[in-house]
Subunit: 129 residues, 2 copies
Amino acid sequence: MNTALDQLSSLANERRLAVFRYLVTLGSGGAPAGDIAVYMNVPANTLSAQLSQLSRAGLITGRREGRSIIYSVNFDAIGGLILFLLEDCCNGRSEVQTRILAAITDVCRDDKDCLDMADAVQMKKVQDE
Amino acid sequence: MNTALDQLSSLANERRLAVFRYLVTLGSGGAPAGDIAVYMNVPANTLSAQLSQLSRAGLITGRREGRSIIYSVNFDAIGGLILFLLEDCCNGRSEVQTRILAAITDVCRDDKDCLDMADAVQMKKVQDE
DNA sequence: ATTATATTTCCATATACGTGGAAATATGGA
DNA sequence: TCCATATTTCCACGTATATGGAAATATAAT
């Protein structure tokens, strides 16, 4: 829960949320701190502080490559945060959970891998009963 | 996205997150501001400020009942926030999305309604293809 | 009308947070 | 070794946020 709080505060800032969303679009490849600063039009040291906060919260990770430090999002972390919210919000409220579930399966409609695994999940669930 | 920011900042505070989670456990019934203040062991006016922020963000709503104002969580809003994060995080990353999907269906395993609706979603999805 | 209860608004204060200049650190190339 | 590049740390300043006392508002009961 303290992790969740850190992650929420990290995302609860316009610039950091923008950085995070930008990094999401870049996938695991990520981008060097300097490039992000240019893209965001922010001084390097200012951005560094933001990146370090996102990093402390576990939402992104930096790896050194030569002189650059490449930041990329930690997809597991955001998944964890989503689950935290989900468990919070769905405490005995199956309608909400189901509504979200529907939306998710909807979102992955065009994605073969996603559908296959969703099916697998469904199978496993049916087996369990 | 501005809504999401407001909601994130509202939850990014220890006390407010605690209030929110407490209200979640109470369901749509909610609780009067005063009771929440007692439960949280916080002066009424201080808590009032927190409630009003959660309310401005749309995460909770207050309805007057006699002298009391009853606050209860807005499940749609938290669902919306989850979807926002999900769309952000799953931009072309079906593994993550699927992992979360699996976790959700897992969470609702014991819940007949949830399963039924998950099945319905699954059906609809298969039809679409 | 008056009083009691529930909550909010106003306001002052303290603390936390975001920002960017200047200096420090780390790596790579000549 | 010396210089250039990439990023961070240090620090000071301004702004935003959280807090709670005191007064205001709103409802209900007598």
